[in-house]
Symmetry: C2
Subunit: 340 residues, 2 copies
DNA sequence: TAATAAAATCGAACCGGTACCATAAAATCT
DNA sequence: AGATTTTATGGTACCGGTTCGATTTTATTA
């Protein structure tokens, strides 16, 4: 906090009896300085405790060594893992991470894209975008590269990494293979990005010659624990209790399972439950929740790598899209010996 | 990504037929510009799509509108809540958040403090410091204000927010009041900051005229789930199973409980367990874990407020220390009807 | 040793804003 | 209307680095 931070490259230059540019060369390891000069300058730097002002450097070079990650809420258990992976890659490449929560608020999302150049960042990774179409145009005119997590289609000027939309199919397939015959779906609003998970329910049933039953579908207001709890209550109120539930995410699955247990319904014996996301809670909750992993860490790593590469390459190379395949992880919420 | 980002304040000035300084005045809402000039300039800004370059501004003003939060690992369930609270306050005040994981690595911690001025930040909040004494001197010479979470003593030039070290006492008191007579402790290394939680075990027992029994103390290698599992195995191997366990944190408590249940030991009927931290998992795990809340969100909020205030005030005002009181939250892992 | 080539260093413009002083324009007062 | 204040705007140095052409120093060659 000592004010002494005012020692500049000019001070060093004067002290060492050289020009500013020479000092600059040395702190940037530019070849072509006589060893004797170098050591003179290094000594001066040492003596004065000089630390280059990165702002000044950035102003000239236009490299800030920072990238942003815009997510909807770090408290959502999916994100810490993602943020961690991104920060890891960033750090390995000498970048820092700016974390932004947009709370799935379309206005905030827009503001982030529009005001990107006001932030000290070289690029941004964004996900959980609630209103993609509204953002597309702005992304295309963004002042720094954008990397999106989630498939936003073709006409967006951004690298992307996303999962095949097979999570739902994997989950459904698992339930069916296990022997469930009366499968239900519990999810949040269909229009949100996770909403597409609903489609797998219908698709998978028809692909397996099972008749969809709209009474077996519970659509809550969000993708939270609370929705799971409400879904459980709803399913319990049905004339026939489903024997398998495909939950749109693990939070819902966990809430659902807990409520079923409270109602003395056994999981997986009476009802089998599979979730999606494989958040860490799924290993903690009892029974442990079978889940389709969306490869969080992998996704973050790849997004960061794509972004950093884009920052280096600029627009010279074509856009890249990386598609990952989700993976089912079987745990106790679906492991049952008997088949109905 | 369009390169057009080169429109500067000079371009606007030329277009509007005024001086740079006038434009600057307008974008900074400095009073004393004729309305007609203002609108002329605003129009030019609009037409050119001008966005001020914050780097240039920061270089002159030395305000970056960014603060950093250095924690050990965002994946640790305690941190998302904290990071969220900090980001909230930051955002409300027009600041962004830079997130740094130091993994409890003393060298990284030191590097963060020493290279602070190379980051684009106006201040930093730091916690989970593994080697406080090594950092003190560097903190005192830091180039931006530091706010510490955790009590680092007197001779540190930093605002602080920390909890009274009564978590342990609260937890122990609860077990004792509930009727436990053979209480055990499960924790991580005693030298780490959470290690002080052990002391409450001894203290509390003697304060209540109960004899500490060193066989009832399990010290693991860290504060993880794994340690809890190992502790459970250890306690089960004792001639007499404890009737209450005070776990140094919730992760340990959760691991411990799960392993006890696997061993057909009921919680809380056979063994009562209380943790510390009140992480969100404690509400998810079954039975829900009674825990002493360390007021995560509150802590983050206050830290951010202290830091921002310090940034505004500079060194003109005395250091501030805020001490919070932990609070016990009773859940199913300790609610039992019968008393042994 | 002088002429030439290569290497090292200097100097100044520049990045894009801010801030302060000087000046011009408008408003107020005799 | 002319002098005096007040208000609005212009001009420019500055923040602390980088960059690149110009210049000096050193090494090479004749």
């Amino acid at each position: 906090m000592v004010k002494s931070d005012s020692v500049t490259i000019a001070d060093v230059a004067k002290r060492a009896g050289v020009a500013k540019s020479t000092v600059s060369r040395i702190i940037n390891d530019v070849p072509g300085v006589k060893p004797v000069t170098r050591s003179k300058v290094l000594q001066a730097i040492e003596e004065l405790g000089f630390r280059p002002n990165m702002l000044a450097r950035s102003l000239k070079t236009n490299m800030k060594q920072q990238i942003a990650l815009a997510i909807d809420d770090i408290r959502n258990p999916y994100y810490p893992e993602l943020a961690w992976a991104v920060e890891q890659v960033a750090k390995e490449n000498g970048y820092r991470l700016v974390l932004i929560n947009h709370y799935g608020n379309a206005e905030e999302e827009l503001a982030i894209i529009r005001r990107m150049n006001e932030m000290h960042i070289d690029g941004i990774i964004m996900l959980s975008i609630s209103n993609p179409t509204a953002l597309k145009n702005n992304i295309n005119h963004a002042s720094v590269p954008v990397c999106l997590i989630g498939n936003m289609g073709e006409d967006v000027n951004a690298d992307m990494v996303f999962l095949s939309k097979t999570e739902g199919l994997l989950a459904m397939e698992h339930l069916i293979r296990i022997g469930c015959s009366n499968i239900a779906y519990a999810g949040g609003p269909k229009q949100l990005h996770q909403g597409t998970r609903y489609e797998a329910y219908d698709t998978s049933l028809s692909m397996n010659f099972m008749k969809p039953n709209s009474a077996n579908v519970y659509i809550g207001t969000d993708f939270s624990l609370q929705t799971g709890i409400q879904a459980a209550d709803y399913f319990c109120s049905l004339p026939e209790l489903p024997d398998g539930v495909y939950a749109a995410n693990d939070m819902i699955a966990i809430g659902l399972i807990q409520r079923l247990l409270e109602n003395k319904i056994r999981v997986p014996e009476d009802v089998t439950v599979v979730g999606v996301d494989d958040i860490s809670w799924s290993t903690i909750a009892r029974p442990r929740v079978s889940s389709v992993s969306n490869l969080t860490g992998e996704t973050g790593r790849i997004a960061a790598e794509l972004l950093l590469r884009r920052i280096k390459e600029g627009q010279t190379t074509p856009l890249r899209k990386v598609q990952l395949e989700p993976r089912l992880i079987v745990r106790e919420s679906t492991v049952k010996v008997t088949v109905n």
